[in-house]
Point group: C2
Chain length 155, copies 2
């Protein structure tokens, strides 16, 4: 029996699931020593880059449900990597701010994730890696526009 999953290999989605498993395992190993997971690193990164962000905005950016983001923010705040500051113009909301420690950990995490990316993409040229990112973003955009179209036509 050669190539037992040859039928499935005709679909990009099948190979993407398997490639993403490799990536997820490797990036979580790269971040573990910093006390971060893929999702907590992503949240920290967006907060560092966008000071004053609201939790609901961050949830939208990362496509995470608001209830699930609460625990992620709790985790980062309990380790003094970020702060929840009550927004002056809307006392329901928090303005999220990275602390100095948070920015420093983010710098270290960026290097760790950069090393991970170099490792798992070692079989690709830099040109191929950039083409891959571009194709992935087009796939994501196609899905988003289909969702939007479905909501419009369904309304």
């Amino acid at each position: 029996m050669s190539d037992p999953d040859r039928t499935l290999r005709r679909f990009a989605g099948y190979s993407m699931k398997r490639a993403f498993n490799v990536i997820q395992t490797d990036v979580n190993e790269a971040l573990a020593s910093l006390g971060l997971r893929m999702v907590t690193f992503s949240a920290l990164s967006v907060i560092v880059d966008n000071p004053g962000l609201r939790q609901s905005q961050l949830a939208d950016i990362l496509s995470i449900e608001r209830p699930n983001l609460v625990l992620i923010i709790d985790d980062l705040e309990s380790r003094d990597l970020i702060m929840r500051q009550r927004a002056s113009d809307d006392r329901r909301a928090y303005a999220l701010q990275a602390t100095l420690a948070g920015r420093r950990l983010h710098d270290r995490a960026l290097k760790a994730v950069g090393g991970h990316e170099a490792r798992v993409m070692a079989g690709l040229t830099e040109q191929e890696r950039l083409a891959l990112i571009d194709m992935l973003m087009r796939i994501e955009a196609t899905g988003r526009s289909e969702d939007a179209g479905r909501q419009v036509s369904g309304a």
Copy 2:
């Protein structure tokens, strides 16, 4: 605030997670009317293509833990899509066989997944789609060889 996740977008892994979410949602919608999920379709497909396969072999092929495969096989068997036949040469093992109904459902599922693939890959040329599959398989292979190397050096 423009491009709030621009730092993360430099990593292929981040865009792959988001693209894969789109793919997973769409393929599961495409298979739902057939009573299949991504993983049950994958298992059915490998069984159809490889009659007589053992459960442990199928688990290896799909990179699923053996305990998790049991429920998937239970599901397919309870709907008479596959059969567990005791292996004549090893009474601990099962030889998995697709039934006629299983092969017929697999034909319909292949068409549904083909339609899904065409939909989510609409923003890519066929050449790009094939290049994407090739790159994903190289990423997966890099990860597998690193795992093997780690086990060797760790042994």
